[in-house]
Symmetry: C2
Subunit: 345 residues, 2 copies
């Protein structure tokens, strides 16, 4: 389990394209209060419109970590970044990276980190071993976001559900399972980096016992219908033992992204298969809603689509970016025992 030190300084290196700064934008949008500012090399042309702070200035204002907020090209760490990273280390900041190439594979960083007593966090990679799954029923409530495919809004939906639950006074915690989610939450487990035998066990560790009226909102990974990643999806689903799930989908896709020979299931089939799979560790699992990335639909198309799907499937159909997830949160509230006093956690 990664445990990151907030608040963050976001590092943009020498980023030239706005899309390179996807991670930084995600952090700015989803945990703005935990971000002090941004820093970059003079060659950078991208900004995420935050106060500009050097590592030393950020450290003086209490920063805990410098987060590499841009996608690296080929996972390699450019030499030009090293002075800034070493300055962050020298000022007592942890480094946080989601790159394939580990920070810990650079001896100069490892040596400096040891010298200054800071930690290098490679959140795409594991940093501990996990036990095998037990299947033991845990207290508290769990909702997972699952998908017809990868990369269509499972993290976004989970964050939106968490915020909406809290806004209504419910107890809710976002449980991060991927690198950006871990940076946003400040903790979590990169499920795809776990050794296969311990997938369900890691998911059990991720959402421990909790209050009877507390919701863990678990970020899904992959898809049961993905030819490469369904094993991760199933292990995470089993270990999460969710009481409820939200199916995420992008209606502009007809096949798995980058896999044109692999058709997507219908939403009805997808729900049925997630229920069948999830019942292994939670007999009461149910679909409480569908979350759609409707960015390719006009307003009229979206309203017609949502109405038709909701009618066919018997659950609310929302787009977090287009009207929010209130209807799904109400379905979750209907599952929440009324015992405890409302309280954010």
């Amino acid at each position: 389990m990664h445990q990151l030190k907030k608040p963050y300084l976001l590092y943009l290196g020498d980023a030239q394209h706005p899309t390179d700064a996807k991670t930084a934008c995600g952090l700015r949008d989803w945990c703005r209060d935990d971000v002090l500012g941004e820093w970059s090399l003079p060659a950078a042309t991208v900004s995420v419109q935050l106060p500009r702070l050097s590592p030393a200035e950020a450290a003086a204002r209490g920063a805990g970590s410098l987060v590499i907020g841009i996608a690296s090209v080929g996972g390699k760490l450019p030499d030009a970044w090293l002075p800034d990273l070493l300055s962050a280390i020298a000022n007592g900041l942890d480094l946080v990276s989601g790159m394939h190439t580990k920070l810990t594979s650079f001896p100069v960083l490892v040596e400096a980190a040891a010298q200054h007593g800071v930690t290098l966090h490679d959140v795409r990679h594991g940093n501990r071993a996990f036990p095998a799954g037990t299947g033991r029923k845990r207290s508290g409530l769990r909702v997972a976001t699952v998908g017809t495919d990868c990369a269509l809004g499972k993290k976004y939906t989970a964050l939106a559900l968490t915020n909406a639950l809290r806004a209504r006074g419910a107890k809710a915690t976002f449980r991060a399972t991927g690198q950006t989610g871990i940076m946003i939450a400040g903790e979590g487990i990169a499920m795809d980096a776990v050794v296969a035998d311990f997938l369900a066990g890691a998911a059990e560790v991720l959402s421990p016992d909790n209050d009877a009226d507390h919701w863990d909102v678990i970020e899904g990974q992959g898809s049961l219908f993905h030819p490469a990643y369904a094993g991760v999806t199933l292990g995470l689903l089993h270990g999460s033992q969710p009481d409820a799930f939200v199916l995420c989908h992008d209606p502009s896709r007809t096949t798995i992204e980058y896999f044109p020979d692999f058709p997507l299931p219908t939403l009805r089939d997808a729900i049925a298969q997630y229920v069948t799979a999830g019942r292994i560790t939670n007999r009461a699992i149910r679909c409480v809603g569908v979350s759609i990335n409707s960015s390719t639909l006009s307003d009229a198309e979206w309203h017609a689509y949502a109405a038709a799907m909701s009618s066919e499937l018997g659950v609310p159909v929302c787009d977090p970016m287009r009207g929010g997830v209130e209807a799904i949160v109400q379905a979750l509230e209907a599952l929440t025992p009324p015992t405890s006093a409302p309280n954010a956690s």
Copy 2:
């Protein structure tokens, strides 16, 4: 992918209980031609009835590896074994272990191996990285053994199918996915040790393109119905893209072993769920038979059970230990294109 050097010398250490020698018995029974003999400490009371050869004697007869053939207590390597292991290394033998604790975690063994140019194989652990799955359709035929639970005959059934196919002149290769299977085959991938993101990719590497009439017989792992290990099962299934599968079951079990709160599915439901899951990467997947561990049934009970199940499910129901798997092999032959001349491979 582990590649082991045969033939083997089986090492029994100071084993006191016949059940400790399970691995050695498996190797003796399934690859007798690849085993030169056994060796043990004077304190051992267990033998697997093979010629007794010291590491030096085995090396003189051409042995490639010393295989630790007993289950270790707590995974620790007893100090008393070290002189024999070092003698094997000094005589040019590789060491092969399925223990949790890695051979490579003992500096004295690592140093000696480097000095003598031999390899330490920890077959329970991975020794390389794998690519992500691609879902690309590969040439050749594949049959996988799958289960209602763990530890009920998937390896045994796969080995029996491979031998029976070859005995009838078909091309067939056993593809090992667990430690004992890897030792028997001399190669394979410990699927449960693969990083989760690369499960399907590793399974793709395990059974590459082959002749159109060649069967890869893929040893299954875990069970779709197991609360801890289903992720491994699904990733292996998807990467294997099997044309056919054999469902393995032990009718004396009603729940997952060691998980009394997790009921086993009916055979009909299990087949349906494996078909649904397997169709992601092979639309033509079908169940060609059921393999039963019938050791708890009398002859009369077994015949009645097999007849009833075969009638209900519409596929042959065999016990490899009790009548063999001929009926299933005939079902596989019916799927084999008649193009090439028969030939063992």
